[in-house]
């Protein structure tokens, strides 16, 4: 006994498909939203033609399925979305289509996407925050919606519809200080960005945060210098008192002009932040050698010693803890 020939309907199999395909109606889906075909890779009848009475008739005869939220959610979790698809998904979640908050939370609990076909897959898990650091190019914790997606939505939508909050800076700091992300500090381009971030938000960190920062960063070659990446205790802030042969820090330092206007420079870092993590302002052996070499007679020695001490006193307020430690532990003042 022969069976009926299936009715073929025009569908878009995936969002970027320009040409429509024909599939049996039993394999196609009717969309209840204009957004579904912008992010779901399913054979969906385009929304504006799916509203015709022809498809209503097929639906009444159960010859075609209607997309419901359960199917949408299940399909999203098993798909790797493209960047434009995940943006479209977020737009749908923020739309006025009476989407249950639980469904939004469920969808945001697990998402996979990639920026381009060649880039690696990024996983988002239990998204609670959004990135408001526009232009941030570094990896984020998996529970943060990156700005390349968040920037397409209004703050209202992000906070009220998706129930997301701005990413706390402390949480971001913890993430980057974790062992798995520390390599970012040892790469010059990313180190500049991170040190700038720390510098910009320095006042928002608690004592416990800065202590942890000092502990971690003091052991990492995270400071770009003229001799490559160095640990803070081997990195020197540029000064006329220092030999140019030393590893001098090449970061852009925050400076103020006479008119108290901030000079616009890329990724500036505050000097006090660099000192706090252990960067140096004096090099005791060089200074000591300078004064020793200049002293030929006893009176010369006394004079040079006086100048050396005056020098140290003048620089006292600019010295970091590491400088003081080096001063204490390097023999440079010999008694008679």
């Amino acid at each position: 006994m022969s069976s009926s020939k299936p009715i073929l309907v025009p569908v878009r199999r995936f969002p970027s498909q320009n040409q429509l395909s024909l599939v049996p109606a039993s394999e196609a889906f009717l969309s209840t939203s204009k957004y579904f075909e912008t992010f779901l890779s399913l054979p969906i009848v385009p929304f504006h033609i799916g509203q015709t009475n022809f498809f209503n008739m097929l639906k009444r005869r159960e010859q075609i399925r209607e997309l419901n939220h359960e199917i949408v959610s299940s399909k999203i979790h098993e798909s790797i979305l493209r960047l434009e698809e995940i943006i479209a998904l977020c737009r749908w979640l923020c739309s006025n289509e009476n989407i249950d908050k639980r469904l939004i939370k469920e969808i945001l609990s697990e998402l996979y996407y990639r920026e381009t076909q060649q880039s690696s897959i990024i996983q988002l898990e239990k998204v609670e925050f959004y990135d408001d650091l526009h232009g941030w190019s570094l990896p984020f914790p998996p529970n943060v919606l990156p700005s390349m997606i968040a920037s397409h939505l209004s703050r209202d939508d992000l906070e009220k519809r998706l129930s997301l909050s701005r990413i706390p800076r402390r949480m971001l700091l913890d993430f980057y200080l974790h062992t798995s992300q520390q390599s970012l500090f040892e790469d010059e381009p990313t180190s500049r960005i991170l040190l700038n971030f720390i510098s910009e938000h320095w006042t928002q960190f608690h004592d416990a945060d800065t202590k942890k920062m000092k502990e971690v960063l003091s052991k990492l070659k995270c400071i770009p210098t003229t001799h490559g990446m160095k640990v803070p205790s081997d990195s020197y802030l540029r000064s006329p008192n220092l030999s140019p042969d030393l590893p001098i820090i090449t970061l852009n330092l925050s400076e103020r002009s006479v008119g108290d206007e901030q000079i616009s420079i890329e990724y500036p870092v505050k000097v006090k932040v660099l000192k706090a993590i252990g960067c140096r302002t004096i090099h005791v052996p060089t200074s000591h050698n300078c004064f020793s070499e200049r002293s030929t007679t006893e009176s010369d020695k006394d004079h040079s010693l006086e100048n050396f001490i005056k020098d140290l006193l003048q620089q006292r307020k600019h010295m970091s803890d590491t400088d003081l430690h080096a001063l204490r532990s390097t023999p440079c003042l010999t008694g008679s």
Binding site: S2, S4, I7, L8, N18, L20, L22, T52, F54, Q63
Partner: protein
Amino acid sequence: MPLRFHDNKILPSGQIFIGLATHQSTGIGMHVFSHLIPTIERENIDLQYPYVSIWNEQLLVSIGKIVRLIYDQTMLDLTQEDSQADMQYLLPLLSAYAFQESTPNKDIGMSVKFKFMRFVDHGFPSII
């Protein structure tokens, strides 16, 4: 294409023709002209008189098959061309196959719809 616009929707408004137009709608966005045998008043087709009704019913079934063949070919042609250019035509084209209840006799539309939905392709040429 015999379509009408009502309440922001496109509705089919095809009629049965037996030489001249009858008052009977087809329920789809196509006029149908065939050797259907009308009633004495010539305002509708006869589905009452036993021998005439068999002829008319079988014709209606064949019409359903033809409508289905037209639909299949139309969809095939549309998806093989640049769909962006033809998307604007899909809406009225598909509206023609909406299968509204035919008036005054709803059996006519139902016969056409029945064969449209249950088309079995035996590979034989159609009788009509």
